[in-house]
Symmetry: C2
Subunit: 741 residues, 2 copies
Amino acid sequence: MSGDDDIPGIGQYDDFHTIDWQRDIARDRMRHRYIVKKRQDSIWDLIKGAHDAWSGWVCVLLVGVCTGIVAGVIDIGASWMTDLKFGICPQAFWLNREQCCWSDTDTTFDTGNCSQWLTWPEVLGGQRQGPGAYIISYLFYIVWALVFAALSASLVRMFAPYACGSGIPEIKTILSGFIIRGYLGKWTLIIKVVGLILSVSSGLSLGKEGPMVHIASCLGNILSYLFPKYGRNEAKKREILSAAAAAGVSVAFGAPIGGVLFSLEEVSYYFPLKTLWRSFFCALIAAFILRSINPFGNEHSVLFFVEYNKPWIFFELIPFVGLGIIGGCIATIFIKANIFWCRYRKFSKLGQYPVTEVLVVTLVTAIIAYPNPYTRMNTSELIYLLFNQCGISNSDPLCDYNRNFTDVNSAIEKAAAGPGVYHAIWLLVLALVLKLVMTIFTFGIKVPCGLFIPSLALGAIAGRIVGIGVEQLAYNYPRIWLFSGECSTGDDCITPGLYAMVGAAAVLGGVTRMTVSLVVIMFELTGGVRYIVPLMAAAMASKWVGDALGRQGIYDAHIALNGYPFLDSKDEFQHTSLAADVMQPKRNETLSVITQDSMTVDDVDTLLKETEHNGYPVVVSKESQYLVGFVLRRDLNLAIANARRTMEGITGQTIVIFAGTGNQPLSPPPCLMLNRILDMAPITVTDQTPMETVVDMFRKLGLRQTLVTHNGRLLGVITKKDVLRHVKQMDNEDPNSVLFN
Amino acid sequence: MSGDDDIPGIGQYDDFHTIDWQRDIARDRMRHRYIVKKRQDSIWDLIKGAHDAWSGWVCVLLVGVCTGIVAGVIDIGASWMTDLKFGICPQAFWLNREQCCWSDTDTTFDTGNCSQWLTWPEVLGGQRQGPGAYIISYLFYIVWALVFAALSASLVRMFAPYACGSGIPEIKTILSGFIIRGYLGKWTLIIKVVGLILSVSSGLSLGKEGPMVHIASCLGNILSYLFPKYGRNEAKKREILSAAAAAGVSVAFGAPIGGVLFSLEEVSYYFPLKTLWRSFFCALIAAFILRSINPFGNEHSVLFFVEYNKPWIFFELIPFVGLGIIGGCIATIFIKANIFWCRYRKFSKLGQYPVTEVLVVTLVTAIIAYPNPYTRMNTSELIYLLFNQCGISNSDPLCDYNRNFTDVNSAIEKAAAGPGVYHAIWLLVLALVLKLVMTIFTFGIKVPCGLFIPSLALGAIAGRIVGIGVEQLAYNYPRIWLFSGECSTGDDCITPGLYAMVGAAAVLGGVTRMTVSLVVIMFELTGGVRYIVPLMAAAMASKWVGDALGRQGIYDAHIALNGYPFLDSKDEFQHTSLAADVMQPKRNETLSVITQDSMTVDDVDTLLKETEHNGYPVVVSKESQYLVGFVLRRDLNLAIANARRTMEGITGQTIVIFAGTGNQPLSPPPCLMLNRILDMAPITVTDQTPMETVVDMFRKLGLRQTLVTHNGRLLGVITKKDVLRHVKQMDNEDPNSVLFN
């Protein structure tokens, strides 16, 4: 535990290793004590001390600012390139359609088109309308989509393979104490940002919200290297990463509180409460910076701001719970099919052609999506449209009711749906099926892709359809007792937009199994504080249905698929096994141990060569097996190499001594004292300890291994890998699927 | 660990003991496995299994419903009795002023008076105005206040001494794993509810928000006894109590999310994430029920709903941070003075006359409070008044500006403050000083009293004064560059009400050291989602100032004052001591141990009589001291008594055997096998383990004690009491102040 900094490399970890939280935290406290002690020496040390005390706040401030800026760049870039598929602003090609039309008074609000903005048929000298223009638009749409997707996939393949996917399963694993070198590096960051803009613009069925968490985490990782307190200590670094994940969700949805809760509930593993405040600060700064850049462009700081004239009615809880059940089913279908397809991709030849796969998926998506206006439009716009109520300014076919608006402020009257609504419903059903199928094939291809927005869209479509159904039921059968109370006046008592919102929450909740953070994100996303109860009812129903139909959320399923060594802190260990059943070595094998004062350097070298353990217990003697401490393989290698290099007289016959305090034997000079790398406080359990307690200790204390004793004698070792394998075995899964070094 | 239910009383705890979380959780899992196994036996067992699986949800549902109802009763009762001090509704005496005036069209909005409602001078046949009426009103006010306060204090003194105070320090301690019998019992509940209504109505400077948390926790405790899973397992019961605490804050402020975060951040100790969702459910149900009863009486579900015409301006962050600093200072003055006074009360004769003290404080408060309209009015009304902006309908002197309103919807023009405003400011300064002094003396007297509302009021007063200052500065010096940007138009650019809100958050944050939960409560309380940044800036400044001036928040200070055994999970243990320094016995003492198979019943009895430890390590033999397990004093007593009662042939010479598995020696018949009460998986640490790791294990694993070994031999025991004493000692506090059995 002491002398970490004397021998270079001690205290670091290898790739695909798991970290030892207790040791890292202890190292940090030692460093902290050193700084506090030194602070009295000089003004310079005092300043260094103050810098150290503030570095956590400064670091999250930087992470927040950078995350906000990068999110702004992504929003602006994606919006420009998405519009590029449809046309261009010839006077200033760098403007998107909305900005291009700002200077123009001739805007028609419903399509967003204006005379400044030219669609591709117009650029080529043709007409805006007509079959020829349609075909040209269609072709341009497909070509641009393919170009963007090809660029994105190639960049990912060539420069940063880790930049693909949403990244949340990997970040969960990293935050649980695993090392994946390069996953949060600068190349991953750059390629993920560029690739994300491209893949979002390509019109694939994916969102930018999940990858934003990955991007923010990359920023957190990179910026933490500016502060040695965090950069050189993996356990402390994870505090910054948790805050960064919160900032990522915060900018993705404009939801700082939701972001913090998401980080707390879904992503983070160790979330000490003192970092809650810091994460909140980080999330808020990021949201504030993004809003100052203002890519949403509306006065509300809310992505899908909704305002309904009518509150919800008590009986509506029935359809809301129904929506929750539907959402849970859709989510289960999605998870099962997606995992099936990803497993197929992983173990078949398909996995060798990632760029081709991306191109095929993009081509199919573009061809099918264009004809249907609801799939052609930007998914965020679709969600916003579905969430809205039919007001006076809304001219979409979805609002084709037989009613006349007299005044903006008056109540919306009850009305029968017109033919436009029925046509729109059919298009929405088609869009639902298409989006579901395409998202199943899309999530997992080798471009940056998230699934928040597609999930929300699926749910919003289903919800809107159900909402229109309930609304028309209330219109046509106003005498049913359910409707007779609140719906007896002439006003419209059912708001289909609210159903869309509830449905969106249901599907997203079913897919990710988020709970409180989902509800908070939804109401920060929509500004609808009054709708917590409906949102919660649906999210709860969806989660229960999802849990009943399939145990895992999409992220956990992907973690299992990839075999990441993630010990879920939410699952309870339900079995009755004891530590003795899990520990290595099994019966009839011998445990590799080091004795405290009777092995030579050659003996140790032989042991290191013959075994591959990451660490060795140190015992009093081979006969007694009474435990003295624990030494890591890596430290042992480094220390012996260092001794050979720096000390004289080290031969193969030199005795290696790990004596504890107090009783160092006075052995003759050729001995190598290695007590500085000996951990004299290893965590031990008895062989009769139930595995549930052991698992609890691994989770809560962040252990890397624990030693098993019986009546004081060492019996064996349980490593995190043993625990993970045991959990898999108990759940009847393949224990060898765990990826681990 | 096994056979808990065979011997009655095993698995229970004595008063003022600390619980063993690992053991309780293990007991619950065993019970759960038993139910799961038995579920296949019959339909009835299947139903029992389903009931068991749902009981957590049903229990929090019941807690939510009951909390909502009780909160409604308290709100209605307190509002009626508060108005009773001023007058009565003769036609229906059970109505408060507002309800009394509902049926009356003759209401004047600014005073709330109407012809139906009679003030006491009118009841006695006099006039509403005039010096005589004033004196009669004054007298009635004082008399009623004294009556209410005397009733409240006497009830508390006679029936439930635990019902006094806010209860939050005690609930924090209980949730950290301490047993205080009766603290959450039915008598405490009843007296706290009645006493709270009375003490709030008496006009003392106290709030009902803190006690609501205690009341909800009482409900949680009582209702958990309906479900053996929770009622008979102290660790599981704390999950319900955490949810109940969330519900308490939820109904106190109408803030379900804030309540959950408060429970998570401030109150709870073990908050497994799977209970987050359940707590949220509980908080939401409680808020929903309360809103259905609708004591706030306005259409918004928000206690202090605010709506400002103007957003905040960036430069305003400077006064907001300034308010944070002021708030931190006010909070520090309050905490230091209150703790000084409470310590004086505790160790002087004053503590023996609680009712007299309450009467004196009430009398002084009533005499001073009545003449000043801002202290005479209900504190909640004062806060609401201060938070509001001066609109067209606001006729308080605070809004006496030289401006003419033309239209409700038009912007508020900039204006100079009139004489009414300056007069109001002087009254507010007086009110600030009075409230601060009275709250110092009030918090801690023997009636139910909380300090959320007084803290908010203090901050709101300070904030409003600062706000008016900044507003008038901007009006008088519009050319200062700070104001020249946003304040150059004729509209009022500074909203003093917002400053009041920010100031309220600052003082409350300084007093309680809440962070995220404070901001969320404030914005749920006011509906002002746009003001997260100002609120956070002020809360942060206030917390930092508070932390710099005095380490502890008010609840932690009261925990320390009362010597509760609370091991704060937020404080870091900063010292370098080792387990060997803390363990019992110290050098030159011997450790009381039991040998596994060589002690007689008489030996054990002697040991139990001569020592007072709560548990004894079991070792192989006195010579070797190799650890076998751990046995609790209570279990040992019960088991021997049970054996004497039920088994034949148990004499003082019978050998007591704790043999582990496998190697039971075949001793002759007169032996007593006690392996069922032996915990064969005690948590052990080595003597070289740093205390920071030990403290961490106590916190995270919820240990009651840990055994210290060296090379496999038992050296000593560290109990939670030893840890707490050591922490106190290291912080240079009296280690003997810890209350503990």
